[in-house]
Amino acid sequence: EDQVTQSPEALRLQEGESSSLNCSYTVSGLRGLFWYRQDPGKGPEFLFTLYSAGEEKEKERLKATLTKKESFLHITAPKPEDSATYLCAVQPRQGKLTFGTGTRLQVTL
């Protein structure tokens, strides 16, 4: 069965303090790995799709990378507005999307 494990469970950063979130996965034939951002009381907001090992995607202060076993979401010089829960999910070629339990990020001034 497909599995997604995210770490850490929670992360507190000061504004400007860069860090990385980890997503380890096992999947029977990867169709896509997804990163979503979820704010309290809202639905998951799509950030990135990755497919090939070595692939990288960037958006503002976020950069997502992919290997055959894990993905990292790097946050460079975060701001308080980056505070949210970041969810990782894997989509196999056949079957359903499987989510990790997320990393709750808090960025303080």
Binding site: R31, K42, G43, P44, F46
Partner: protein
Amino acid sequence: DTAVSQTPKYLVTQMGNDKSIKCEQNLGHDTMYWYKQDSKKFLKIMFSYNNKELIINETVPNRFSPKSPDKAHLNLHINSLELGDSAVYFCASTSLFGDPRGTQYFGPGTRLLVL
């Protein structure tokens, strides 16, 4: 402008009641989903419809019945509500054959509280 919309946003009801949640997407997608997010924020798929046909049906009590009148709509009817049904329910959609990665887009959620 909203891509995936759900109604109602909040639903508070008594145990034993029957309720429905509605979802609509204007993205032109062919596949829609219902997810349940529990108190620990874990998202788990319940159902999926492709062109009005049920394609994923996870281990969900028979009290939950999805209905898709057309490609753009997916409703969820819940009979005999129980305390454990309290959760946030999300609708999502994708273009299963148009998007090689199958990126799913989520609605804002329906917060269900059963008293």
